[in-house]
């Protein structure tokens, strides 16, 4: 029997490889628009973002299937395989549509809306396999709650993201944008549920303790996360002329995240202690990095959720820092940790080198984005012309491009290692052993 979880991870790793190539291309084109005109910037950008999102989802889904397979509770495996097939075929169709220049023209996923149908259908299959497999498990650990919630919420918010095809929504631009960002905010929350759940699962395996997954604090944090997933999307749209209560709700709810920040600071010491204990494991290193990035990105997210700060940072690269910092620093680090742990690649020195290259260049990348964003925001508010501001920031954009390319190289070196290791044991490692 073929291992569905691992198939999804292979799809994820392939998506990330392509996402990095298109991302590097787009960041070069941002400064030199004539570079490689065969795939112009307005195609390279959605190729990059969609494939990056595919990496996160595919590995998040893979982690869930892996759990079901490793604990041998998986049911209706064939539907899982079908899920994987549809996921891949749709992905290829989306890539083709971008190359052809046919877009849905909205943020993140700019593909034509008909391609949402197969995705929705495959997601139903995923839901069936998951819930049929786990419903007999007694006393669900928090990650099962998170995965189950993530699966359902994705389905709901993905449908919501497509509501614009109805006249009622698209005929009011304000309603359309509000609902668009409402759905996207929660959709990101749904993949976070999959990924954070997997992170907790990996930590449980690394430390050999299952205390956290059943603890009160684990569930309290889950509910704080869920509250933010539901109600904290509007910090993206303070500038959209909708009623004020929509923004105020987000502002109020976002402050509950201070609780999470507080907790991270509170347990700093114990994090350091366990870092010393497990520092020799690569999987742990990546979890540790994700913890640090959680702290930094959460602080940034809380800051830009304050309308008075958002007023200056909105529409600048600070928002990109928020998005990239979270998807790379948090989501990707957890996923990589999961992959390393799952395949047992804990001791490779090559992985350690990649770890440092990735994290250091991400640090430079992140700071550059924030700085150039703040400078742009201030200059535009002072009434400077767009063209003048952009050329003033040119040096920053170069640092952004160079650190972006180094970051991509660090990841590519890591992925190269993964592919190499994987092929050594292929196709045995795709087979589920049956007793």
């Amino acid at each position: 029997m073929i291992r569905i979880g691992r198939l999804f991870i292979i799809t994820g790793i392939t998506s990330l490889t392509l996402a990095l190539l298109f991302g590097a291309l787009a960041s070069i084109q941002f400064i030199y628009p004539d570079f490689f005109p065969e795939i112009a910037f307005y195609k390279a950008r959605p190729l990059h973002t969609s494939l990056a999102v595919a990496w996160i989802f595919s590995c998040g889904i893979g982690a869930v299937y892996n759990y079901l397979e490793c604990t041998k509770i998986i049911r209706l495996r064939i539907l899982g395989l079908l899920h994987w097939l549809i996921f891949n075929v749709t992905g290829i169709l989306i890539i083709i549509s971008y190359f052809q220049g046919t877009f849905g023209g909205r943020e993140y996923w700019e593909f034509p809306p008909v391609l949402s149908l197969p995705i929705l259908f495959s997601w139903i299959l995923f839901g069936i396999v998951f819930f049929l497999s786990v419903y007999k498990v007694k006393s669900w650990p928090v990650y099962l709650w998170m995965w189950g919630t993530g699966i359902v919420i994705f389905f709901v918010t993905f449908m919501e993201a497509n509501l614009w095809i109805f006249d009622y929504f698209s005929s009011s631009v304000v309603r359309e944008l509000t609902v668009q960002w409402k759905s996207y905010g929660s959709l990101v929350g749904s993949w976070n549920m999959l990924i954070y759940g997997s992170g907790i699962y990996v930590m449980e395996k690394i430390s050999g303790e299952n205390f956290y997954a059943h603890s009160k604090i684990g569930f309290v944090l889950f509910f704080v996360g869920l509250t933010n997933l539901f109600f904290n999307w509007a910090h993206h749209i303070y500038a959209v002329p909708s009623s004020e209560w929509i923004g105020n709700t987000a502002y109020f709810i976002s402050m509950t995240e201070l609780f999470i920040i507080g907790r991270i600071i509170w347990k700093w010491k114990s994090t350091l202690d366990s870092a010393k204990k497990h520092a020799n494991k690569n999987a742990y290193l990546f979890i540790l990095a994700s913890d640090i990035w959680v702290f930094l990105n959460l602080a940034l997210a809380i800051l830009i959720s304050i309308p008075a700060v958002n007023f200056y940072t909105h529409g600048t690269h600070v928002t990109v820092a928020h998005a990239m910092g979270s998807t790379i620093g948090i989501n990707s680090m957890i996923i990589i940790s999961f992959i390393i742990h799952h395949f047992g690649w804990n001791n490779s020195g090559w992985v350690k080198i990649c770890y440092w290259v990735i994290n250091l260049s991400l640090g430079v990348f992140w700071i550059t984005l924030i700085t150039s964003g703040i400078l742009k925001g201030l200059a535009l508010h002072n009434g400077e012309a767009f063209g003048a501001v952009m050329s003033e920031l040119n040096n920053w954009f170069h640092v952004f491009m160079i650190s972006g390319v180094t970051l991509a190289l660090g990841f590519l070196a890591l992925l190269f290692h993964f592919f190499f290791e994987f092929l050594l044991d292929f196709p045995e490692n795709l087979k589920q052993k049956t007793e």
């Binding site: 941002f30 628009p33 112009a40 910037f41 307005y42 950008r45 959605p46 220049g101 046919t102 877009f103 849905g104 023209g105 909205r106 943020e107 700019e110 006393s139 709650w145 919501e160 698209s170 005929s171 009011s172 631009v173 304000v174 309603r175 944008l177 509000t178 609902v179 960002w181 009160k216 569930f219 309290v220 509910f223 869920l226 509250t227 539901f230 109600f231 993206h236 749209i237 303070y238 500038a239 959209v240 002329p241 909708s242 009623s243 929509i246 923004g247 105020n248 709700t249 502002y251 304050i306 309308p307 008075a308 007023f311 909105h314 529409g315 690269h317 990109v320 535009l380 508010h381 767009f386």
Partner: protein, 134 residues
């Protein structure tokens, strides 16, 4: 935490979410006037050509080009039209028909009528909020 408590919190949140969604779908997002069919088709072209990869509306979108929320009232229709017709070194020429360009202009004119972005007259309050009433 007991299972009943988890369920109670969970379903209360879900209930609040559903109610809030219905609220957002129906209230607080109206515009003063509706969009004309021409502007609506302009919106579709704006999406199909993925202008948002480089431009922003209300500060939302890509970062290579400028925000277009108020381009019509600030820079004028003729100026806007010439960009869309010819492109620039950075912006592609999409070879659009006159009719499509008119629709895009109608769409941008509609967007322009909905707000001023960024609104430099907004006052910031001591608790970090924006006072839009002026």
């Amino acid at each position: 935490m007991k299972l009943q408590h988890k369920r109670l919190i969970f379903f209360s949140l879900v209930f609040a979410y559903i109610s809030y969604s219905v609220f957002v779908y129906t209230k607080g997002t109206e515009t003063k006037s509706g969009m004309s069919p021409e502007a609506h088709s302009g919106k579709n072209i704006f999406q199909e050509k993925n202008c948002i990869a480089c431009h922003q509306i209300y500060g939302l979108g890509g970062y290579m080009g400028p925000d277009l929320t108020n381009v019509i009232s600030v820079k004028g229709e003729i100026y806007t039209r010439s960009f869309i017709e010819n492109g620039t070194a950075k912006m592609p020429d999409f070879n659009l028909q006159d009719e499509e360009i008119n629709s895009l202009i109608a769409y941008l004119t509609f967007i322009d009528s909905t707000t001023v972005y960024p609104d430099s007259t907004i006052r910031l309050t001591w608790y970090g909020n924006m006072d839009k009433k002026k």
